[in-house]
Amino acid sequence: MERSYRWGVCIPVVLVAVTACDFLLTGPPDDGDLFDAPIPGLTTGELAAFVRGDEGFGRRFSPAEGLGPIFNQAACADCHSGDGRGRPEQALTRISIGSDLALALGGPQIQDKAIPGAQPEVVPDGVDISVRLPPPVFGTGLIEAIPVASIVANADEFDADGDGISGRPNWVLPADFVPADEPGGGTGLQLGRFSRKAQVSSLLEQISAAYHQDMGITSDFLPVENRNPQAGGATAAADPAPDPEIDAATVRAVVDYVRMLAPPAPGDDTPQRLRGSELFTQIGCESCHVREFQTGPSSVAALANQRVVLYSDLLLHDMGDELADNRPDGDATGREWKTLPLWGLRVAREFLNGDLFLMHDGRATTISQAIELHGGEAATARNAFLALSADDREALLEFVRSR
């Protein structure tokens, strides 16, 4: 009796104290609303690694610490806002001449900033240009763990089924430094999964290159500083930090962190959203935005054999003239783009101060604009969307918005 009385008093007091604490000292947002939450089921050791990697992802470099000599931004988090997408101000410009990466002209990526004494690159004349908005980085560990066979199973390069949609994998050669036992590594061509044309096969390569190209930070994987070939040799000032500026463990910590980032939870099912979901299948969105996959084995137990509801086939599609950048990337042509996963859209605006930027270069600012931009293989689905009644169209949009 006395015991239960004590509990009766204690529980409300504790609850009030905890809420008062949140009230006084700010409360955390829901995990499902975050882009930087860990996937559920990690061990404490994995969570400790996650926290270490999170620091690396947020770390900005000063010129004295090795930033540059030429670069785009000073931290991963300065492009991938809250681990989500970036704004057009942070978009990268990639250049090439056909399949030649135009290295002598500053390709494959223009670094438009430089530390004092160095000269930034400018886009040269007569090259193919592709502008790329930073995509979200959450959920990439799940994407990495989907078996190659499951993804390739959806490919239909020559449109054998005659539905006008011919998803194609991007087979790419991994960089030399990617060990054979790394997911996406190995001898010969590997399935590309990352970046906007799926031109990268492993997170390790994606992230080592991000340090090297986007931030001018050399690592054990890419130890030679990226310089501006447009500047004369004598004026190519370097940062004062000795190379490599970070070690393999630092890169690996960030790879592990990104790998363990969970996609945010979708919104609750409402009758309107359920209707939208049906329409999504009916009008053919799902032919490319494949609803879900199952992961295979993974070095992180919590990533293995999981359902991944990402709404993407991770394949390349010809999206028509309007979206074409006419710049090939790996095996991808200048008209092809990787189907984007539809996740995190529900809260994406919260990480862009209320704005939203969609598609590879961020040119669409609403979901319906993004759909209207679909051409090429997606023209039939787009037209079907435009032909929907106002109510149905709203239901479909509401479904996509709530992902």
Binding site: L24, G27, P28, P63, D78, K113, A114, P116, F351, L352
Partner: protein
């Protein structure tokens, strides 16, 4: 008997040095052990009793959160600062402050200056100077502040305590009845390029401090002019201007000259039992064009605080004790070139002072910071601190 002999022997042995010292002192300064050595300094030989030593000590306990996650919480042995001041002669005064911050992690000579007083209107000062950039930089001792933390504009933009090697003049002119105008103007080493090159977070002026050997052989000018018609009011304006980068080498122009200019207005007033203090600062930084967007070329900030004392001798056993309550608003924009990268916060504080020189401070602060994407994050904190002069 034997015991007594031992006792006498030990006492004489122990007493001997005292006798010896007395003898040495009698003969001072006839022949020092080392001429100019540690026991042959003027404060022992000539100025005896004229050097005073003091200081202050400050301890913090903090609980802070950003969007529900703990940040910067725990105990801090924040500062132990020691002062000395000496009247060398009727014209010459020397004073110094040595700061031990964060449990001794940072030790800095914050101030060490010689004043040569020619007239009240004109004193020459040289040494490690406290830069007259806003009133707060000149008077920021923790036992004096009513809040645990210094204003954000002072810590984030001006880099209080900002001290620089330099030389210049100061003085005061009486105006009206009881009013005065004070001025200070110095040539100093100024800032170095660390405010950009050592900073991962965009332009951070405090990282350009510590230009102990001038990096560019080009002095900066800093000065403050303050008008105070009565004890209850003072209005000051100050400015700091100079090149921060190395632009010449071997007599050749090796880079563009890049200047940093800071302007500050400060105000202090007392009215109807309330004390009002405030400061607003604007900084213009010439940033290399290749770093625009990431490194700010303009920063601004202000703070305003209102305070009231009460409860004099409420604690009956401490007749000199009193309480104060106060509220402070802080606004800083670390990159005024574009949206985001700014902070606003309000701090509520209550203090108890057993005597004027010692303060027990309890603060609650709450605010919103915006990152480079202009996304907001709420922060809050409960701070407790003790600070006392000694």
């Amino acid at each position: 008997m034997k015991r007594l002999a031992t006792y006498l022997f030990v006492s004489i042995a122990l007493g001997a040095p005292a006798i010896a010292v007395a003898q040495v002192q009698d003969t001072l300064p006839a022949r020092p052990f080392v001429r100019g050595g540690v026991y042959d300094r003027p404060y022992l030989t000539r100025l005896l009793g004229r050097t005073v030593v003091g200081g202050y000590l400050e301890f913090h306990a903090r609980l802070q959160r950003v969007d529900g996650a703990n940040e910067d919480s725990g105990f801090e042995a924040k500062r132990w600062n020691i002062f000395t001041a000496t009247e060398v002669s009727d014209f010459v005064r020397v004073s110094a402050e040595l700061e031990f911050e964060e449990g001794g992690e940072e030790v800095t000579l914050e101030f060490a200056a010689i004043d040569f007083r020619i007239a009240p209107t004109f004193t020459i000062r040289g040494g490690m100077l406290l830069s007259p950039i806003g009133r707060f930089n000149l008077a920021h001792d923790s036992p004096l502040n009513e809040f645990t933390d210094r204003p954000l504009v002072s810590t984030e933009i001006l880099g209080t305590a900002l001290s620089e090697p330099g030389i210049g003049v100061l003085g005061l002119f009486p105006v009206g009845s009881g009013g005065r105008i004070t001025y200070q103007v110095y040539a100093v080493n100024g800032f170095h390029a660390g405010l950009i090159e050592d900073s991962p977070d965009g332009t951070r002026i405090p990282l350009g401090r510590g230009n102990v050997e001038d990096n560019n052989a080009s002095p900066a000018i800093v000065g403050r002019l303050a008008w105070s018609p009565s004890l209850n009011f003072e209005l000051g304006i100050s400015a700091h201007h100079g090149a921060y980068n190395v632009f010449e080498g071997d007599g050749l122009r090796v880079d563009e000259r890049r200047d940093l200019t800071i302007g500050v207005v400060d105000l202090e007033a007392a009215l109807a039992g309330f004390r009002l203090t405030g400061e607003a600062a604007l900084a213009n930084i010439d940033v290399p064009a290749t770093l625009r967007d990431i490194f700010a070329s303009k920063q601004q900030g202000l703070y305003v605080e209102v305070l009231r004392d009460f409860g004099q001798a409420w604690v009956a056993t401490l007749p000199a004790s009193f309480f104060s309550v106060g509220v402070r608003l802080d606004i800083v924009d670390m990159n005024a070139d574009r949206p985001g990268d700014n902070t606003r916060q309000v701090t509520l504080g209550i203090n108890f002072r057993p005597t004027e020189d010692t303060a027990f401070k309890l603060d609650y602060l709450r605010g919103t910071g915006r990152d480079v994407f202009n996304n907001p994050a709420d922060h809050a904190g409960i701070l407790f601190s003790i600070a006392t002069y000694f």
